[in-house]
């Protein structure tokens, strides 16, 4: 995603030389959000989620290398190596290798234990669901786990979701909204177990049960692990670039002269919030991909800082949850529209007198209007009283 949007931006910016786009998946670039929803539910076939058409890709005149993994880069010689045995000397490098799912150790050889990141992951899990499992266990009640649980329930499957925190999503959305999320899952028939860890996932060739830290045992044919992601930076070991939970960049997304990063893999100081960020959201992959491409084409003196207001959404059952900005558990938090009981509301987050974040449940217009206020540096007090 970030790579394709960057390549498009390079062409729009007038770059006419060779662009090599390397991706380790065999599929042409595709859109990930539908994987946990329409693809997993079976409503859509994979051809619906292509990010570009064959014609548009051809117009970009790329040296497109799919199914090829980047294995190394050397800053001194500016050479990129790939697992097909090739090495290319490059003038500019845009790193958009994304992230991969964390897994539970010891489950690699156990069939039926899945993660959901790629199209192939989604199709494998869809096949599991098609086979009519007796029970699906979802480990982790974060956004991806919640969406998988919602889709599985939509298909009439029995679902147990296990969450280590006492209240799901409380670190991201705060305690009260986390409680609402938990209630929604339970109303939809999910067996939600909170404040409990996973001690073991057992079986023969295929998974048979999940053992929890409170001693309970859940019989399961399918286990979906959604416990976060790690950035794909291993291939850059020894490259000369600074790696620290992502590729460390400056405020303009430059990691080294002629080297930029974008998407899940990039860590940079967002000057708007005065903090280092690594953002795993769909919208950021697009925006940062475009920004970093422009950075490659610009000089140091006219380079712009990358200062977005991060934004993402999650669709679960009939709820659209949206979050914009930078939200921390200790921020001041106030509901401005609707109520938790209605499950249709907007909550604002303030820090040091500034509006820094907004969370909405089924209130997309309001979220976008407050997001604009965050961009405009509106005070928390003014945001609370704004008429929108």
């Amino acid at each position: 995603m970030a790579g394709l949007r960057a390549a498009e931006a390079l062409r729009r910016g007038g770059f006419e030389e060779t662009i090599v786009l390397i991706g380790d998946e065999v599929h042409a670039p595709y859109d990930r959000p539908p994987l946990s929803k329409q693809i997993l539910s079976g409503d859509w076939q994979p051809d619906r989620i292509a990010l570009s058409t064959a014609d548009k890709l051809a117009d970009l005149d790329l040296d497109l290398r799919l199914g090829v993994r980047a294995t190394g880069f050397d800053l001194g010689s500016r050479v990129v190596t790939t697992d097909d045995g090739r090495s290319d000397r490059v003038d500019g490098l845009l790193i958009a290798t994304g992230s991969r799912c964390r897994t539970i150790p010891g489950t690699d050889d156990l069939d039926g234990v899945r993660v959901l990141r790629s199209l192939d992951d989604a199709l494998t899990l869809r096949d599991d669901f098609d086979a009519g499992p007796h029970r699906v266990v979802v480990v982790g009640a974060g956004f991806i786990g919640a969406e998988v649980a919602a889709t599985a329930r939509g298909r009439g499957l029995e679902v147990t979701m296990v969450e280590a925190l006492p209240v799901p999503l409380s670190r991201v959305l705060g305690h009260e909204i986390g409680v609402v999320c938990a209630e929604i899952h339970r109303e939809q028939g999910v067996d939600l177990r909170t404040g409990v860890g996973v001690d073991a996932i057992d079986g023969g060739d295929r998974v048979e049960r999940v053992v929890l830290s409170d001693g309970s045992v859940i019989a399961a044919d399918v286990v979906v692990v959604g416990i976060g992601v790690v950035p794909n930076t291993e291939w850059l070991a020894g490259s000369g670039l600074q790696i620290d939970d992502g590729v460390v960049c400056d405020a303009t997304c430059l990691a080294a002269p002629g080297v930029v990063a974008a998407g899940d893999v990039a860590r940079w100081p967002n000057q708007r919030f005065g903090e280092m960020m690594r953002v795993e959201h769909w919208d950021n992959a697009i925006e940062q991909g475009i920004h970093s491409a422009r950075r490659l084409l610009s000089t140091d003196s006219d380079a712009l800082a990358f200062t977005p207001v991060p934004w993402f959404w999650s669709d679960q059952y009939d709820r659209k949850i949206q979050l914009a900005g930078s939200v921390r558990p200790d921020d001041e938090c106030r509901i401005v529209t609707g109520s938790l009981e209605d499950r249709r509301f907007v909550t604002l987050y303030g820090r040091e007198g500034r509006l820094v974040g907004v969370v909405g449940f089924n209130r997309p217009r309001h979220v976008m209007q407050y997001k604009t206020m965050i961009q405009d540096d509106v005070s928390f007090a003014d945001a609370l009283t704004a008429e929108i």
Partner: protein
């Protein structure tokens, strides 16, 4: 240039409204309204950004 919205796909994320509030509006009923379906070519870059940033890929341009 004509703006075309596939309302079967649109889920009123309101990203387009943030980019081009003079062209797109999500109202209190949570539906998207296109305020000007045929903007001038000056607006093309902004509408193209709306096309790209729409999470549902519901917007397209004709002509």
């Amino acid at each position: 240039m004509k703006i075309v919205v596939d309302f079967d796909l649109c889920e009123s994320n309101a990203i387009c409204m943030q980019i081009a509030p003079d062209l797109f509006e999500v109202r209190d009923d949570d539906f998207l309204y296109v305020l000007n379906e045929q903007p001038g070519d000056d607006d093309r870059a902004r509408v193209e950004e709306c096309v790209q940033r729409c999470p549902k890929q519901a917007i397209s341009i004709e002509g």
